[in-house]
């Protein structure tokens, strides 16, 4: 693909690729709404030039589910009230995925720490913590049953 060289990863995702699932709240690296996974690590896509991402794997909310099914994090967020307006949700989902990939059994404090760069003005975070914990159990269960 081609895009203007000055564009951020956020702009290329949203404007050139039509992946509008990734949001923006400041475009200055302050709110965390634009987080995506770059080679498995959360980055603020508004602070990364798309040019720098050649050869890297970028995961956005659009790539979370598999085979038309929601990721356990998505299911848990939907069921447990972790998404209210839903604007910060895509970034928190991918950030939580990075956490669980790296540490399958995080404590509440580790969850707090992991998403502390993602501001949410609606929920007060508690239902988000609970949803991450529910997804953690679900993923562990799936692993144990060999699914």
């Amino acid at each position: 693909m081609s895009f203007a060289p000055y564009k951020t990863l956020l702009e290329v995702l949203r404007e050139d690729l039509g992946h509008t699932g990734t949001k923006h709240g400041c475009e200055l690296g302050e709110c965390g709404a634009c987080a995506v996974l770059l080679d498995g690590k959360p980055v603020l896509s508004c602070l990364v030039l798309a040019l720098e991402c050649g050869g890297s794997e970028v995961l956005t909310v659009e790539g979370l589910g598999e085979d038309g099914k929601l990721h356990p994090l998505q299911d848990a967020f939907a069921d447990l009230g972790a998404a209210q307006c839903g604007y910060c949700t895509p970034a928190i989902l991918v950030t939580a995925k990075a956490l669980l990939d790296h540490n399958p059994h995080p404590t509440r404090d580790q969850i707090r720490e992991a998403i502390s760069g993602n501001l949410c003005r609606c929920t007060g975070y508690l239902q988000i913590f609970e949803a991450v914990e529910a997804a953690m159990l679900k993923i562990a269960e799936q692993k144990n049953s060999g699914a």
């Binding site: 509008t20 998505q74 209210q84 839903g86």
Partner: protein, 838 residues
Amino acid sequence: MPNEKDSRTMPAGALKADGDGLRVIGVPRRRVDARAKVTGQTRFADDIFLPRMAHCKLLRSPHPHARIRKIDTKRAAAHPGVYLVLTGKDVPIHYGILPVSQDEQALCVDRVRHVGDPVAAVIAREELTAFEALDLIEVDYEILATISDPEEALATPEPRIHEYGEQGNIHKFVALEFGNVEEGFAEADEIFEDTFFFQGNTHLPIEQHAAVATKDPDGKLTIWSSTQTPHYVHRALAKVLEMPGAHIRVIATPNGGGFGGKSDPFHHEIVVAKAALMLDRPVKICLTREEVFYCHRGRHPVLMKFKTGVKKDGAITGMHLQTLIDGGAYGSYGVASTFYAGALQTTTYHIPRYRYQGCRTFTNKPPCGPKRGHGTPQPRFGQEVQLDKIAEKLKIDPADLRLRIVESPNALTANFFRLGTVNLAECIRRVVKVSGWKEKFHKLPESRGLGLACSAYLTGAGLPIYRNKMPHSGVQLKFDRSGGVSLFCGATEIGQGSDDVLAGIVAEVLGIDTFDIRLFTGDTDLGPVDLGSYSSRVTLMAGNAALQAAERGKAIIAGAVAEKLEVPKERLRFAGKRIFDSAAPEKGVTFQEAVCLAEARFGTIGTVGSYTPPKSPALYKGGGVGPSPTYSYSAAVVEVEVNQVTGWVTVPRIWIAHDIGRALNPTLARGQVEGSVYMGLGEALMEEQEFRRLPKRLSHALVHKYPSILEYKSPTSLDMPEVITELIEEPDPRGPFGAKEVGQGPLLPIMPAVANAVYDAIGVRIDEIPVTPEKIMKALAEKKAGREPRFGPTHFPDIHWPEALRVPPPWEGGDGNAVNDVPRREKLRREKEKVLAP
């Protein structure tokens, strides 16, 4: 049907609310729009990309107050890629959310009134081009003196920021007296006089405001916007664009957070609409975060003075409240905010005599407006902290004191607000119990403490923003042969779950699943009017309208099924996507078959429902702000730990009980409570919208101190305490299935409870919000020096108040009118004569 008569005497949804067997209502469940949100497919305004779409940027004033001598746009217009440059003369007509404050222009014509006031717009092929071209516009400003705060506004009548208002830079005076307050003070055993200050703060929705406008193929206008009030945007566009409203369609996209900040019609909406019409192509704008700070409409900074008389047992004999309110540069909702600041004091505790004097001034700062709790959190803070001081002086436990004086259910207050169910006492008892208040209050080790506070809030404003007798909310249902139901309503989803509320109510009545319902909401063309997502009105008002429409649909379907099954209509039950004989459940049809039967029997099936609030007994001028069909109540206990070396406040735990009537979806209700607690805690400890003057040599202009998310501190996941939420459910007959509001009320007690807890922990009073480490250290220094251990304002300025409207309270034989409002009495008399004339 709920609304054909006074809904206080005609219970609406509660007809069946106390029966068991509800399958949707009251059951924690996935909200209808959850899948869209967790897959990133919710289409917010900035996610809309249309073919040939151009981009708009606004040039904003760098000066807080200046006359515009000249704007030269020639170079910008000639810049490659620029399609159009607009200035104020292209959209000169004034508008504003309230009919009494039509003081805004989409682009300033001859005067800018705050840093960030827009003066020109560039529309270009690329956003970056539009941005570059802003620099090519030359504006010649004549700098004017700036007014930074209300006291300066009182002392500086000239230059006037606006040519309207009470006088000088005073925008609005309110003076109301319900009973003889001086007599009340004479009866009192103790009189308390306290001044408080509540700093302004902003909504900070994570989504920046955005809008896309397009000229439809038939020449009409469609605009998508992140607005909480599409109906009012619709009206403002019709006015400013001088177009028939019937040719304008406003679609409120789901808001990425609103909290009141997207409730005004905004400059950028009008500008992109105008540009789309002129260019005949779609035009988009997305504000930067800095611009969102300039749009503001957030919490008004309020200086307030409470004088309260009490008997030894805690009974209040009279209260006098004065407020001085910093309105910022425009009217916005400010007149309503000024009334609200004095409205709800009487709804929690019995106050037999009450006087309110409020004064809102203009200042050269972004306009203040409605933020969650609209106008009421500031005085609620003062009232609840003062009650804490009263309790201490009277040697009564603060919880017990409040329990003695709580207002009664269905009471008519001194200012003629009719209350609904009132479970404030139960809220207090519950938080006292679950927090271990009796074991902990005054008994925790040094530096740790507990504080308690209460509040009430509207379940929807009882009067519309513009005077009319039409319903406040309407719902249309279309029943499809597939068994699906389509719901059309103007209600706006701002994250609070309004779509789910409507789907839940309809699904419950019809015995179907919420996911069988397709919702078309927030669209002025598709759905009947709903006034908007403000004042916690949607659950009760749109909910009652949905209930009525669903009940009407159910009656039609039941008629057809009863004929087919040869069963009396009354015996039919709607549940599990079936309609069946309750006496013989196996005898029945599926919901889809039932719709087909009904359509064959009666023709196409569609129903409507609407809701109009009951008429308020508050007939005096200004009595239109504060009445509500019913009120929610909350009580909170906050635990704090204060570091006396740094002044840092840690909040490990908050217990909150909320009188909700009924939780329609408990998952969402809890989320609203926790979200309110979170936002209240931010206001209590850190959030403030502050301004500073540049040095004299650099123009001495007044600029925003923190127009960025990084510097405007808000709580992160690391700051959020454990929250123990108790929902008190006594269905209120005025709400659908008994529901009252939950989105705003639980925010209100948090700020005073934090301040009260700090006092319990370290013995200093912080009579100012936010309670920052700096203020705590100053108060501790005072304490150490043996002076009054307090930080807060020490005076309230002398204001030449107008004569108060005197309204005798109900117990003094008042009829809701002011006895000294001669012009209004005359007007009402003439109107009455006109009605009675043959």
